[in-house]
């Protein structure tokens, strides 16, 4: 991840200055469960399909059990941290850096495949699963559920 050297305490990805040749996006969500449980669920590849948009060739390059994971794919790299906050559960912060051309950015936004959009929705589904045991859907029956997931 590029170091943008901001002088305040705001997260790097919120810097208004350019991040060099890569897009950097970050997002935090608070999940009302213990950090070990959140980490273990997040880390288990068997759970990924239930909450995460599919990512090809994901390679874990760093693992601090219970607190941090780093990874890379062909065109992105990222870090996820897990931090216990008393009375509120676990703050999961996901930072991702990725290659994206100017035109690619527009296409990704229009098709809703922008990595920042995917991360945002992935983290919401993760929170729903861990806090409620299920993922919210407006589908009224199985046929509509299948259509929605296509």
């Amino acid at each position: 991840l590029s170091d943008t050297s901001t002088h305040d305490d705001a997260p790097n990805a919120t810097s208004k200055h350019l991040h060099g040749d890569r897009e950097v996006s970050s997002r935090a969500v608070t999940i009302n469960r213990p950090a070990e449980e959140v980490y273990a669920f997040y880390r288990d590849p068997a759970n990924a399909a239930s909450w995460m948009d599919p990512v090809a060739n994901l390679e874990v390059i760093g693992d601090v059990p219970g607190s941090e994971l780093t990874w890379r794919t062909a065109d992105s790299s990222g870090r996820t941290t897990f931090e216990t906050v008393a009375g509120r559960g676990t703050v999961v912060t996901l930072t991702i850096a990725y290659d994206q051309s100017f035109v690619g950015k527009i296409i990704d936004k229009v098709t809703q495949r922008d990595p920042a959009i995917e991360v945002r929705r992935d983290l919401r589904r993760l929170k729903q699963l861990l806090e409620t045991g299920e993922i919210a859907t407006k589908a009224r029956n199985q046929r509509m559920l299948v259509e929605e997931n296509q």
Partner: protein, 395 residues
């Protein structure tokens, strides 16, 4: 099944659609026995709420019989339940603080984007109230899927008819919360703008919470009569100057607390309201807000403003200076229905709160489009329409 669907501004129809099924483990399916048309359904009917799609099934005030349950539902088939219009998971941070209407988890991940962009934070999941709040099918239908059925619905004991408890779904707790947010102290005078269902329940609730006097403001004579029936004094804003009347009736002090139960479609031929209507019709503004302006100006110094009224967008000419200089406090929000259900059900059973006085019309589901038109066009005596899916359509 048959269901009332939105097709556009002033266009609702009863369509035949697929029946709902259990999707998630905490779901239940209800056979709807009673469902009401809410004043806020008229905001959808009038096209004021964004992110509606043709075919959306409306209805967020409903009750019924449990006909199917998921593996983690705590309900049993055959039970009668009333369902809160706000979906709440019961396990997120907000639910833990009984801020059920702020639940993080009821709204599907994709639908949360809209609220986050528009309001800075995601909106809760609601039944039948646009895709901003989840796009869930509502209860103006023969059957409805109810998520988080282990947390929200309240079980109704046998022998209590639907009409006495149906309004636990929204307008009774909304009126109650409005009065609670007015932080009423003994001896207080409370002014309530709007004698629709929420305003009338706020009047009853304010007295139960110890208000000395309640002054109800509207322009429909029949609705003012209903408020009078609960002991309120009344101001008809078409007959009298509201601010002047309130000041004189309170010895020049102003009401200690004011409740805006009108919201974004305020009536009346006031200059600022006419300007608002022109702006709304030309897309320059979204909310017509005469009632909240008048309430802020009339409220006594150091008083409380409670705003159960629904607003959706932006306003201008809000008297922010009066608000600051007088040191007012504002409390508002969607209703944390689940928090109030046990207490309000008990109050109904003990006869402390009357709900059936409100119902002016009962009709079959097939007549729902007529009901919407009637509720929209004739608001003096059409105080509340209850739809009974089992009732045959009128000839």
């Amino acid at each position: 099944m048959r269901a009332l669907a939105w097709h556009g501004k002033h266009d609702v129809r009863v369509d035949t659609v697929d029946d709902p099924e259990i999707i998630n483990p905490r779901d239940a399916i209800l056979k709807v026995t009673s469902t009401a048309i809410c004043g806020s359904d008229l905001h959808l009917y009038d096209g004021f709420i964004p992110t509606m799609m043709a075919g959306d099934i409306l209805g967020h005030e409903f009750m019924g019989e449990v006909v199917d349950v998921g593996a983690r539902s705590t309900l049993k088939k055959g039970q009668r339940v009333v369902v809160p219009f706000t979906m709440a998971c019961g396990s997120c941070y907000h639910c833990g603080k009984q801020q059920y209407a702020s639940c993080d988890n009821g709204n599907p991940a994709e639908n949360q984007d809209i609220g986050e962009k528009l309001y800075g934070h995601t909106m809760p999941g609601l039944f039948g109230y646009s895709h901003m709040t989840g796009g869930y099918a509502g209860g103006q239908a023969e059957y409805v899927r109810v998520p988080f059925s282990d947390v929200g619905p309240i079980i109704i004991p046998d022998g209590i008819e639907d009409d006495r408890v149906l309004f636990l779904s929204d307008i009774l707790p909304t009126g109650w919360q409005a009065a609670e947010y007015a932080e009423i102290e003994p001896g207080d005078t409370v002014a309530v703008w709007g004698c629709g269902p929420v305003g009338l329940f706020a009047v009853q609730s304010a007295f139960l919470m110890g208000a000395e006097r309640v002054i109800a403001i509207d322009h429909f004579p029949h609705r003012l009569e209903l408020a009078k029936g609960f002991g309120a004094e009344t101001i008809n804003f078409e007959e009298s100057a509201t601010y002047d009347a309130l000041m004189e009736m309170t010895g020049g002090i102003g009401p200690d607390a004011v409740i805006d139960a009108v919201g974004l479609e305020a009536h009346g031929a006031f200059v600022d309201n006419i300007v608002d209507q022109i702006k709304v019709s030309t897309f320059l503004g979204t909310d017509r807000t005469h009632s909240i302006r008048q309430a802020v100006v009339a409220c006594r110094k150091g008083g409380r403003v409670s705003m159960p009224a629904v607003y959706g967008g932006f306003v201008d000419k809000f008297p922010l200076g009066a608000f600051m200089e007088k040191g007012l406090t504002l409390k508002t929000g969607q209703t944390n229905v689940q928090k109030y259900l046990p207490g309000l059900l008990a109050a109904i059973m003990e006869g402390k709160i009357d709900t059936t006085f409100l119902i002016s019309h009962r009709m079959g589901l097939e007549d729902a489009p007529k009901g919407y038109k009637l509720f929209h066009d004739e608001q003096n005596t059409t105080t509340k329409i209850v739809l009974k899916p089992d009732m045959m359509a009128a000839a």
